[in-house]
């Protein structure tokens, strides 16, 4: 086992609720040797923080998420949650899968109840169902309790996935492009719900997205990953928008375009050229923390360490 520095101090524990320390993923290359998807990835998340990851397809976002879920283990480095190294999946970390991953032979209630009874194994059926129902109603599916996944729309399936994740009252939620398969309207209302639920419950959330606006609306912190192979965390963007933002008026907020342009610039050019133009003083252990649109223009020297 990789030794873990046990955190003694409470504030430090909250500052580094999740700590990703030098993780790597390598696959054997076709001609021998190995391909490094990413290596030496470092960043951390605070308790209750909403963190989004943005990067192009194939850079390894899902792999990082799976490692946080404990479904995969890193080839190097270690992921730490709440002071303990992740060695496998845990009921403390709920995953919302991109493909919703509902069990098609179970009803909506059956799917959520399955999760609930997995967490609280000694609960009676009535208690399990009542608990499951509470979370199904929370995502607005109270009328569809006894429907099977095949009878639900894409948005409704994703809602069940969210209810299932929330129902086990996890310490953190991991979401892999949860809304990418949905139409804009459904996506918008689900984003609202997720934001409301996360703010209400103080959930720590790690979410992968392709959608810049989604990241700006939901995230406190946005991790930018460069293209693979050999992906790196280029920087970490702190969301300058006020915490009480709402989705409809997002674009009217003063800093909105600054963040948006910053993210888009990164996706269009930065993600490609970063590894050949690594800024002076870049330290993979402490990727630069930037706050676009802040009053004072940032220079590399002013960047705080994340």
């Amino acid at each position: 086992m990789t030794p873990v520095n046990l955190v003694v101090n409470d504030t430090a524990a909250n500052e580094k609720f999740i700590s990703i320390e030098g993780i790597a993923r390598r696959y054997p290359a076709p001609g021998g040797g190995s391909t490094t998807i990413f290596e030496n990835i470092w960043f951390s998340m605070k308790r209750g923080e909403f963190c989004c990851v943005i990067g192009h397809s194939g850079c390894g976002k899902t792999t990082v998420l799976n490692m946080l879920a404990g479904l995969e283990l890193p080839d190097d480095g270690v992921n730490i949650v709440d002071g303990y190294a992740i060695e496998g999946p845990s009921l403390d970390r709920a995953v919302i899968f991109q493909s919703h991953a509902l069990l098609p032979w179970r009803t909506v209630l059956g799917n959520v109840a399955y999760a609930v009874s997995s967490k609280w194994r000694d609960w009676k059926k009535d208690k399990v169902n009542a608990h499951a129902q509470k979370y199904i109603e929370l995502v607005g599916l109270g009328a569809s309790l006894h429907k099977r996944p095949s009878e639900l729309s894409g948005g409704m399936k994703q809602r069940v996935g969210i209810a299932r994740a929330l129902s086990i009252e996890p310490k953190m939620m991991l979401m892999d492009e949860p809304f990418s398969a949905l139409d804009a309207l459904t996506r918008g209302s689900l984003q609202d719900e997720v934001r409301r639920i996360c703010l209400d419950t103080g959930q720590s959330t790690f979410m992968i997205t392709h959608d810049v606006d989604e990241a700006i609306y939901l995230a406190d912190k946005i991790v930018l990953m460069t293209n693979g192979p050999g992906a790196m965390v280029a920087e970490i963007v702190e969301n300058p928008l006020p915490r009480n933002r709402d989705r409809i008026n997002l674009h009217k907020l003063p800093d909105y375009y600054a963040v948006r342009n910053h993210l888009i610039d990164f996706l269009v050019t930065g993600s490609k050229i970063f590894r050949d133009n690594i800024p002076a003083g870049y330290d993979p252990r402490k990727p630069p923390l930037v706050r676009p649109g802040a009053d004072k223009p940032l220079t590399p020297g002013d960047r705080k360490a994340a």
């Binding site: 404990g70 479904l71 709920a94 995953v95 493909s99």
Partner: protein
């Protein structure tokens, strides 16, 4: 057109059946001229020569035979004269016994093969060699070792129904969607609970397809096996009636074998429908 597709299909089915019966009836009417001959010789020549009728029974003869069997399907007058119902019961009992033993072996073993790529590779050569062997080829070996014709038939049923179930179970288990397994993993589900709540329901439709193929093969094989070992059973009945030159009884048996086979298949199909889930 007011009639639905089903109604039209039914009408065509009935028409074909009617035409078939009529053609059968006409073809077995007999061909006329009766020759005068020595009665001893006539006996040897059979009815065709003496009465001008065909030895092949017509639909009316067969109907009469069916009626006869329906009146007393379960009579038992010694080893060579039992009702068709009794003979069927013997065959069905053998098929069920062999089949259920095969289920008991194939499902757990299929699970093991499906879950473990190593076991899958290790057992593959055996399965590949055993699977194409005609189940009847096992018969002499079975008779020699078991020394009981009835148990030998059961063994043959077992050996022929085990492969489709084994292969389908292994395939169904191995191809459970990874995301469902990941759901179980993130929920820290115990291996036993995972087997019963994720893998089994996910693989059930494939498993039942295998079981349905197996019951069909088992029913095909039992007739041949019983012809070979004799004694009791519908297969023996067919062979016995052929030796008695009772073609009517042979035709009745063919019908009955077909009907029972269909019922067995439909029962499995019903189970398969019950466990199928739409995605």
């Amino acid at each position: 057109m007011l009639t639905s597709l089903n109604q039209r299909a039914l009408i065509v089915s009935l028409l074909i059946f009617g035409v078939f019966l009529l053609a059968w009836h006409l073809a077995t009417q007999g061909s006329g001229s009766v020759q005068q001959m020595d009665p001893e010789y006539a006996k040897l020549m059979g009815l065709t020569a003496t009465k001008g009728t065909s030895a092949m029974p017509g639909p009316l003869d067969v109907a009469a035979k069916i009626w006869e069997h329906l009146k007393s399907p379960f009579y038992d007058r010694g080893p060579n004269d039992k009702g068709i119902g009794i003979q069927l019961a013997y065959s069905i009992a053998r098929v069920m016994t062999g089949y259920f033993i095969a289920v008991l072996v194939a499902l757990p073993l299929g699970f093991l093969i499906g879950m473990s790529p190593m076991m899958s590779k290790a057992l593959d050569p055996f399965i590949q060699i055993m699977k194409p062997v005609s189940p009847l080829a096992w018969m002499p070996l079975a008779l020699y070792t078991i020394k009981d014709s009835s148990i030998s038939s059961i063994f043959v049923i077992f050996i022929c129904s085990v492969w489709p179930m084994l292969i389908n179970t292994a395939f169904g288990v191995a191809s459970v969607r990874k995301e469902w397994l990941n759901v179980a993993r993130t929920l820290e589900v115990t291996p036993i609970r995972k087997a019963f709540t994720i893998i089994l329901p996910a693989a059930a439709p494939t498993i039942f397809t295998g079981m349905r193929i197996s019951i069909g093969i088992a029913w095909l094989v039992i007739v041949a096996a019983e012809m070979l070992v004799g004694g009791t059973g519908i297969g023996y009945f067919v062979w016995n009636e052929w030796n008695n030159l009772s073609i009517s009884n042979v035709i009745v048996s063919i019908l009955v074998i077909g009907l029972v086979g269909m019922v067995l298949d439909q029962i499995l199909a019903m189970f398969a429908r019950m466990v199928t889930y739409p995605e």
